[in-house]
Amino acid sequence: MTGDLPQLLINGLLAGTQLAVPAIGFTTIFAVLRFPSFAIASHATIGAYAGYIANVWLGLPAGVALLAAFIVAGLFGVATDEIALRRLRTSGPLTVAIASVALTIVLENLVRFGFGNDQRGYALAVLRDWRVDLGALGMVRIGPQQVQNAGAAAVAMGLLFLFLGFTRTGKMMRAVADNPMLASLKGIDADRVAQLANFIGMGLAGFGGMLVAMDTAVDPLTGFRVMLSIFAAAVVGGLGSIPGAVLGAFVVGVGEEFSIILLDPTYRTAVGFLAILIVLSFRPRGLLGERAI
């Protein structure tokens, strides 16, 4: 079995990069708005469909379609928050979280109403894996598309870091995440920051949703399939921490692949929660704590 470890590690890391993007989206919204948004699932689905329209109907290349997925899902995020969730924030985070479940049901079904349940695929050629000889560690195979997706994910994450670290608006967002009270004393417009968090968070969810759909298919359940893993990644890393979400995504991604050594593959979903329990037993605020945005 140990001969498989390099391959399992690679599989896990590639799965992790795919998970990292929507997990960052989820954690960004959490950092600013302080509630776990289940609507991440439907926005990932919306992103996948936006990318489909751009790629298949309009014939745009995948890179542009990913951008479309980001923007459309982001705009939906801002709009749905404004319509459905904003007024509930005073009722406490649980109420908003529950409303976000209701919201995700509504959006999933609007997609279903418009597009039906049929599976759709992007106009992308599927490429054969590279085979790499690691000498004593044996042969491994790596998917060029997965590497490309990982690259796209890395670019998205990099841009977010630059935005948060070096722009005024980004710094404002961090200030609100760190201490909303202090931020409002400094005159930062909390509503605008909330809108921005929703745009970026749901936009990343949409971007991640399209990455997932490239490997699976576009259908109304695209986002729902990865929702639990996204939650697990964000919690393991520390809710509200962006580097934490990335780290958590790798822990969950690699953990799920490695679990195949010990557990039936049908228990893979349990791995994320096992990781949560182990990590939280030692670090109740996740691997990287919460202040790292």
Binding site: P36, T90, P93, N109, T266, L277, L280
Partner: protein
């Protein structure tokens, strides 16, 4: 029609029992729990297995189901005692998914995704469907009534006041000399036990359970029942449960009203309407239809 309404009354009763259980855990003690369906499943499986495989009578199987769910409740509470609310939400959600995975995979015990069928119930096949349903309505709603009364008394007793103190601020409560963890464990045990009872009643009424019967959506409907009805009050929890079942079932009758839609569009519209109504209720009745009167300030869970 009467048969259908009676069956829905049974489902509403099960939802009400779960909402009452959640009322103890969340309404009184303020602990977020999105793993309700896990306790519901444990009660259902415990009672079903004891009666189908060991042929125990219901009078033993139902208490055993309550006990099994309560014991799991204590275990979950112990594991999650140190976690903050938002973590608790996701961890408990994970717990219920793990229960479902175990039920799907441990075929030797649970019969896997095939599920357990022919779960016995008094009078099945002997009574007419109408009388059979009626009998279950009586059993389930007596259970709801007794549970509501007991929890209302508990809530008014010192126990309830301590729980509310913990809900508002567990640091102050512990400074005041209350053993916070013990009270939290007790609250969890009572709440989970009620959900286990709901599961047992559901399993025997339905005659069949399978892992897919216990999807997270069940939890969401119960949380909605409690929030819509009025967190912290017994009448609110029960009323909310009835409303949620009325909403999810009532929307089935919309199909004939909207012409020119494909069935998949009608199904999508139905689920979307359920979601929209839930958001509207949360928006316009944030304290629930029957708000808690005795509380001192708004429920904050963070």
């Amino acid at each position: 029609m009467e048969n259908y309404l009676l069956a829905m009354a049974v489902f509403a009763g099960c939802t009400a029992l779960m909402a009452l259980g959640l009322n103890v855990i969340f309404g009184l003690a303020g602990m977020i729990n999105l793993g309700l369906v896990g306790f519901f499943a444990i009660g259902a499986y415990a009672s079903a297995l004891l009666t189908v495989k060991l042929h125990l009578p219901l009078v033993l199987a139902w208490p055993a189901a309550i006990f099994a769910a309560a014991a799991c409740g204590v275990a979950v509470a112990l594991i999650t005692a140190r976690l903050r609310g938002d973590y608790l939400a996701i961890v408990t959600l994970g717990f219920s998914e793990v229960i479902r995975l175990v039920a799907s995979n441990e075929i030797w015990l649970t019969n896997g995704t095939d599920g357990i069928s022919a779960i016995p119930a008094p009078g099945r096949g002997v009574l007419s469907p109408l009388l059979f349903n009626l009998q279950f309505v009586v059993i389930v709603w007596i259970a709801v009534g007794v549970a509501a009364l007991l929890i209302a008394r508990l809530s008014a007793a010192p126990f309830g006041r301590v729980l509310r103190a913990i809900r508002e601020d567990d640091v102050i409560a512990s400074v005041a000399g209350k053993r916070v963890l013990r009270f939290k464990l007790q609250a969890f045990a009572i709440g989970a036990g009620l959900m286990g009872l709901a599961g047992a009643l559901y399993a025997h009424f339905n005659a069949y359970i399978a892992p897919d019967s216990f999807q997270p959506l069940v939890t969401i409907y119960v949380v909605l029942a409690l929030t819509a009805g009025g967190t912290g009050t017994m009448r609110g929890a029960v009323l909310g449960a009835v409303l949620v079942v009325a909403l999810t079932e009532g929307t089935r009758f919309l199909g004939g009203v909207v012409p020119g839609l494909a069935p998949v569009q009608i199904a999508a519209l139905r689920e979307a309407i359920i979601g929209v109504v839930l958001i509207l209720v949360l928006t316009y009745r944030p304290g629930g239809i029957i708000p808690e009167t005795s509380r001192t300030h708004r429920l904050e869970t963070s």
